[in-house]
Symmetry: C2
Subunit: 253 residues, 2 copies
């Protein structure tokens, strides 16, 4: 039969946060090319007979080059395989899906995208905090703090980040958060704005680090020293102050 | 037994985009309070014996007041019912979840949140377009074009919307899009920026209306006249120009 490519969102980690469609597609896969941010419990959902290959490409670790991933994906699909490209969170949100869709299309292969719960949504559900709470937030924005060279992206819109009526979610914040916070404050962000780091959102090892924009860099450092691990996300804005973690009434579900 | 409240994301419409957790919670519900934007096919997933009550509160139609929904939800849970508050998309993204979480907490009830695929993600998967395509977008932002009074919110950050390196998703755009586009262009947004309206994303009646920021108001008007129906979402930004709809090579899955 003809091969195909499906980009599938693995969600933030809890395998129960996979969509029914993701499960169906994973269970009919011949090959699963997965990122190092995909939780092992999610990978277990894939068809047992499927070949599973770690291709990395997210997180801070060394990984395959994007061109190599594209070439492997296309080559396997051309051999008639049903190839699933499994990505942490949602492929369409900081998932490098653009390059892979283009590569598959250029090769004349059918491409399907299955959305996933992105890390921000996983964290918000665990914090039980509305990212667009009517009293606090008119705009929700996602940014990455990690450019191709591993540094802070050069063209961040600092005014947009300083807006007191926005909720901001920072993906891949760990190496550059201190600088990002400093520059956002310089652009007018109130340093007392509630900010929280969430490690391994929705996984058993989840850890929440509530602080403020001004104090989170230190709190983050300490949490890592104390063993906080896994994918990290930072959320800030006045809506985040509604999170249970700040009220000291955090319930574990 | 003790009652409980679960806020559950119904996703954009395709019932296969429910998470496994949403299905589990829906199948153990005693009562489901649902919005008018929840697709009937999603509601069918709920436990057959569950009482299903339309409480509205999304879309443009008249609906129950938020205070009445909160009171009903708390009252049912206090009677020992497992109450599911089922919301289109993700409860934490323009879902009024904040008020309901507070009401349940204030009543001493256990609250759980199950995230859902939000409309922007459903639309992006169908358009096969990365919302954060590396060549085009550094920031992804969600705004609502519909304030409490039905008009454009007064405190929109127009500079943030005019940023050429952002992808913007406008929820509830239909009544106010023309004004929003005009003001964003006045703030510096290139009127030739690709923009697309998606009606009923991921549903059988889905309709995509590709245009530009300048021409979408007219195209939208025409699409509605031609029968486009259901929840509408507008996406704009240079990343959106990568959508298959613009290349005239749209495939239906």
């Amino acid at each position: 039969g003809q091969g195909s490519v499906a980009l599938v969102g693995a969600g933030p980690g809890d395998p129960e946060l996979l969509t029914l469609k993701a499960v169906r597609v994973l269970q009919s896969a011949d090959v699963v090319l997965y990122d190092d941010l995909v939780a092992p419990a999610v990978l277990d959902v894939a068809r047992r007979e499927a070949r599973k290959m770690l291709v990395g490409k997210t997180g801070y670790k060394p990984s395959c080059k994007q061109d190599d991933i594209n070439a492997l994906m296309v080559s396997l699909a051309r051999q008639g395989k049903r190839v699933v490209r499994l990505k942490g969170g949602d492929p369409m949100v900081f998932g490098r899906a653009g390059e892979e869709i283009t590569a598959a299309r250029d090769a004349g292969l059918p491409v399907e995208v299955v959305p996933g719960i992105t890390a921000a949504q996983g964290a918000a559900s665990r914090l039980a905090v509305s990212l667009t709470h009517r009293d606090h937030a008119r705009r929700l924005q996602f940014v990455t703090a990690h450019a191709r060279d591993g540094k802070l992206p050069r063209d961040i819109d600092w005014t947009a980040l300083a807006d007191p009526a926005a909720t901001t979610v920072v993906y891949m914040p760990q190496r550059t958060w201190a600088e990002l916070a400093e520059r956002a404050v310089a652009a007018g962000l109130d340093p007392a704005t509630p900010a929280i780091a969430v490690f391994s959102a929705t996984r058993p090892e989840e850890r929440q680090v509530p602080a403020t924009v001004a104090t989170l860099a230190g709190a983050l450092h300490q949490a890592v020293a104390e063993g906080a691990t896994g994918p990290c996300l930072i959320l800030f804005g006045h809506a985040i102050g509604e999170a249970a973690a700040f009220a000291g009434e955090l319930e574990q579900h």
